[in-house]
Assembly symmetry: C2
Homo-oligomer: 214 residues x 2
């Protein structure tokens, strides 16, 4: 989240908090619209209607749909960084990813923080749009590199805490494996939502051990 | 590909071949439109224009956009089955997947058969649409299970040829890993197209050995 830092008078601070809440409400509405109809089907006034605000007010926050998708990418980055900051131990990571798969398979949107991918349809929509729009691709890739760097940093600390001295090339491979597992599972959740829990857990137990260098 | 079986008079056969070529040309046009603008942005008459045919002729082949996306899923299944039928040995599989990643990263569409995912943007678009439309989801999932079954069958033969007796649960985990690698790499290609070849190859060398039960 990009909360406006509070540093004005109490009245200014209260206005900034209200503006940020409004901004998040608009993003939630945009996310619902993009998931339901795709990025290109609806207009910015449809999204204003979904957010129950006037079109004029909408434009004070976001000048066009691209600005909305960029803000959604930024919000996803904040979720990711938070999730990585709270990455649990191996066994919990296996169960956590299994729960993500099951939730994605039901088509649900995680409303809380600390999740890998908030909604698979939005993830797919943003990926498709990055393919079309170089500006979206550029922002997505910059944020994606930050997420990978955060995972690599977490793995490095994990190794050091166990008295190991990890090589960069090894950390990069393990970071890549972690990302393939999460993103692959997100795609599987839509395309094959009925995978047996023991199949997913059995695979993840071995793969997550690899990610952790064990 | 669903080529109409030829069993009529020479004139009927020639007509069937022309109709199938027309059908494939329409699907190519629909694919280009969906990649360029998303599934919901354009109309079926836009796709007819892209295919350079009349709207009336278009409706003789496909009654709506859903019929087009279902036919594209079917065509992808044919590609997949063909690719699995020609799956190479471990070392070639690593290089083949690395080449797929590099091609997807350049945003290219594989025009030939034997590829894992023809185009990442189309793949993302179909995934997003499956999230929205239960009919699309149903067809996608049925085809997806056939692809997984083909991979499992290939792995079983691979094991048997090496004198091993594979267990079903083991084959299912290895099939899932193979799918996570391919689909994860497709997503990585859009979001992180600059991964070093040695990172991808290094990870795949280990992961593909796991897939092959080595």
């Amino acid at each position: 989240m990009t909360l406006t830092p509070l540093s004005g008078t109490p009245a200014e601070d209260a206005a900034a908090v209200r503006a940020e809440a409004q901004r998040q409400r608009i993003l939630d509405a945009a996310q619902r619209c993009f998931i339901a109809r795709g990025f290109h089907a609806g207009s910015i006034s449809d999204i204003a209607a979904e957010a129950e605000i006037s079109q004029g007010l909408m434009y004070r926050y976001f000048e066009n749909k691209r600005a909305l998708i960029l803000a959604l990418i930024e919000r996803q980055l904040a979720y990711d960084q938070d999730a990585i900051g709270h990455m649990p131990a191996a066994a919990d990571l296996v169960d956590g990813l299994l729960r993500c798969y099951q939730l994605w398979a039901r088509g649900e949107t995680l409303e809380t923080r600390g999740n890998a991918i908030a909604n698979v349809a939005l993830y797919a929509e943003i990926t498709a749009e990055a393919h079309r729009d170089p500006v979206v691709a550029d922002v997505l890739r910059r944020h994606d590199r930050q997420t990978s760097a955060a995972i690599t940093g977490w793995l490095r600390q994990h190794d050091i805490a166990r008295g190991r001295t990890p090589e960069d090339a090894d950390l990069e491979r393990r970071t890549l494996l972690m990302r393939l597992l999460v993103e692959g599972l997100a795609m599987r959740a839509v395309r094959d939502p009925d995978l047996a829990a023991e199949t997913v857990r059995g695979l993840l137990a071995v793969a997550i051990a690899s990610v952790l260098g064990e």
